[in-house]
Each structure stands twice: as C-alpha cells, then as structure tokens.
C-alpha cells in the first residue's frame, strides 16, 4: 500500500480515535496530521498493520504530551474565572449535553484505560493494544473488561442524574 492509500485508509480512524481521546476535533485533526508528518519524516517502510499501529502509537504519545501541557496551563490559569458556556438552539443543546455525558464518563477512566478502550474500538488486537499502552499482553482483557464496565456504569449514572432519555 502506498502512502496515499495508507492515508485514506487510516486517517479517518486515527482522527476518530484522537477526537474521542481529546474531545476536541480541531486538536484531533492536528494530532492525526502530525502523526502522518512524522511518518513522512521517518519513511513509510513496513507492513500496513505495523504502520497503522505506529501511527496510533505516535498519536497516543502526542495526546499524552498535550495533556501534560494542558494541565500545566490549567494550573497557571486556575486563578482566572472560566469563560461562560455558549449555548445554541435547543437541538444543539441536547446534543451538547449528550456529548458532555459521554465525555464525563470517559474522563472517569484513567488515561491508560481510556486509550486501551478506544484502541479496542478501532479494532486493534490485544497484542497491538499491549504495545501501545505498554502493558503485558495477558493483562489487556482484564483492563478492558474493567474499563468497559466502568464506562458503561458511569454512563448509566450520568443518565439517571440528568434524566437523559435515549
């Protein structure tokens, strides 16, 4: 597979993963593209599966780096009041609430568990997930089972607290 075909195949999935991980489509776009730029710099040598895994691994590290930067910035700005929420039409508001509910449930998970759960959703094998998350292959199932159940439980809690209907 040439670089363009690889881009067309992997980019949508990588963008979705970064968007789910960061909750910010603009940032997800930057991260996914940065991963491809780094692949260009490195040279696109390897199997399709290997390159795909490499791209996700790079993007995951970029997300972690940015999360650290964001945390530092948050600490610096903690003395300032947050900006007021912008609210749109009712439909947008309902969707925004739904997104917020899912994001809050994701935030309950640790960074590593969140990454592993989202990698699973992109169809990665346990071996690939173990490599990206730097955990043992045998522990992947246990971590995923716990993360999935915790995420689902948190969604239910959020739903009952907010009275959200499906």
């Amino acid at each position: 597979m040439n670089f363009e075909a690889l881009f067309d195949t992997v980019y949508p999935s990588l963008f979705r993963y970064c968007n789910r991980l960061t909750g910010d489509p603009d940032q997800a776009e930057d991260l996914a593209q940065e991963a491809f730029f780094r692949l260009l710099d490195r040279g696109a040598e390897g199997t399709d599966a290997g390159l795909r895994s490499w791209l996700f691994s790079v993007a995951t590290n970029l997300v972690r780096d940015r999360a650290r930067t964001r945390e530092t910035r948050r600490r610096i700005l903690s003395g300032f009041p947050p900006p007021e929420d912008e609210t749109g039409p009712e439909g947008d508001l309902a969707r925004a609430e739904e997104i917020q509910r899912v994001r809050k449930a994701l935030e309950v998970l640790s960074q590593r568990d969140r990454e592993m759960l989202l990698l699973r959703q992109e169809g990665f094998s346990y071996r690939e997930i173990a490599e990206v998350a730097d955990v043992s292959h045998r522990s992947v199932g246990t971590i995923l089972a716990r993360a999935l159940q915790r995420f689902a439980a948190e969604l239910s809690t959020e739903e009952s607290e907010n009275g959200t209907s499906r």
Partner: protein
C-alpha cells in the same frame, strides 16, 4: 474448570481466545449461570460503549487533511517565491540561498540553517496565500519566474514509494521543457498559470501548460518516467538515466528538451 476471570471472558468475546481453550470456555459459560451472566454483562457494556462513543464522533475533514499532509513538503533546492514577497526581497533571498548552497556541503550546519530559513519563509507565504486546490494536487503556489513577472504554478507528488511518472500534455510550440535534479522527497511540475494538473497514484499529469515547463526530480528517486504527449523523453532506473527525447542542452543538474515544433520534432 474453575470460574474464568473477567479478563479471559472479555478476551473470548473479543476473539482473542481460539482453539481448545475457546471451546472449553464456551462450554463453561453454557453450563455456569453465574459466568454466563458475567459474559452477558460484559457484552452489554461493550454494546453500550460502542453506541455512546458514536455520539462524540464528528466527520473528519478528509480532503483538507489530505491536501495538508500530501502537499506539505516543498522541494528544498529549488524554492518558489510566493507572490506576497516583493521582487527585490525574493531576488535577495534567491541570491543568498544560491550563494550559500554553492558553498555549503550537504548536511552542514549552514545548509541546515538555510533550509530552515527557507521552510519558515514558505510557511509564511503559504499561510498568507492559502488557497483551495480543487484538484487536490499538491499545494499550488503562484511564483515569479526568473524573468520577473510571469506567473507560475506547480503540483507535487510524494516520491516515497520508489517511483513516479510525470507526463506533460499539449505543451506550447517551441516552449522549453526542463528536467532538473533536486534534493528532496517530491517530484514537481512547475508551469505557467492556466496549467491543469491531475494526479493518480504515482502519476502526475500537466495539461496545456502555457510557456516553459520545469520538472523537478529527486536525485535519489529510483524509478522515474518523464513524458510528453504520450512519448517517453527520459527514463531513470536506479542510477541509470536513459534519455529518449531530443536534448537541446544538458548539464549534470538539468536537461533541456526540445519541444514540439523545434528542429528535432520528438523522439521516435
């Protein structure tokens, strides 16, 4: 067997357990109500997760990202000057770059500094003249030719997978077609404003270029074909360069081909 832990059941549900171990596990789940309920809970959580995550998804801006990533790199040895730079400034930078390139060895700190300077310049030009490319071919940049005012556009193709084909169609009579060897990772066609470009796979085509055409080929590229109106002018395979078209002038760094309408009217 004893009750399997959740991790093993999850692995089974995810298709990570195979063969005899999978059969044994399934048999246990069918016979053990407690484990069966646990597996159902995991499946339910999995379905709920998939459904919920769809809520936060947004469509990627694929074409924009494609243009950004695939058209990002600008060949480093033959820079193009954007129209937002004044001619005197462009000329002074050209002189500076040319002089430095002549004296700086590849990989030297001076050369790296020059390249970084150039990349910063092209970035600033691109951001000020960022325009949509309906063909999705490289990133077009309006340029000033050495003569000063002729508008020029270009399209590039990444040379990552070993080979490229460059084809020119309907070149103006007596127009010059120049092939230049460059450092970099992309092959480019630069031609007069009004040229139409298409790209498919490893092939880049330019149609109806008014005036001179410059084809830039990375030196390290293994397989290259340059053709005009369906006839191959040049073929490079590894270190071997086969010249098949009528040559007007040749130096170590460039080959100028005679275009249709000239005395030698195309190769046989």
């Amino acid at each position: 067997m004893g009750h399997p832990d959740k991790g093993l059941v999850q692995a089974l549900l995810d298709g990570e357990v195979e063969g005899t171990e999978a059969e044994t596990l399934r048999a246990h789940l069918e016979s053990c109500g407690e484990c069966e309920a646990g597996a159902e809970a995991l499946e339910s959580a999995s379905l709920e997760t998939t459904r919920a995550l769809l809520v936060v998804d947004t469509e990627p801006r694929l074409q924009k990202a494609r243009r950004h990533v695939l058209g990002k790199k600008v060949p480093r040895s033959t820079p193009v000057f954007g129209f937002s730079i004044s001619l005197p400034k462009a000329a002074s930078i050209a002189l500076l770059l040319t002089g430095a390139a002549a004296t700086a060895l590849p990989g030297s700190p001076v050369r790296r500094w020059m390249v970084q300077g150039w990349e910063a310049l092209t970035e600033s030009v691109r951001s000020s003249s960022d325009q949509e490319n309906p063909l999705g071919v490289g990133e077009d940049q309006t340029a000033l030719s050495p003569e000063g005012l002729m508008a020029e556009i270009g399209a590039g193709i990444p040379a990552l997978m070993g080979g490229v084909e460059i084809w020119i169609h309907d070149l103006a009579t007596d127009a010059e077609l120049r092939v230049i060897w460059v450092d970099g990772e992309e092959a480019w066609i630069r031609a007069g404003e009004g040229t139409r470009f298409t790209r498919e796979g490893s092939r880049l085509d330019a149609f109806g270029p008014p005036g001179a055409v410059r084809v830039e080929i990375p030196r390290d590229l293994e397989q290259v074909v340059v053709g005009l109106n369906g006839t191959v002018l040049l073929r490079k395979s590894g270190g071997e360069v086969e010249i098949l078209g009528p040559v007007q002038q040749r130096t170590p760094s460039e080959i100028i081909f005679e275009a249709p309408g000239s005395t030698n009217d195309g190769p046989s």
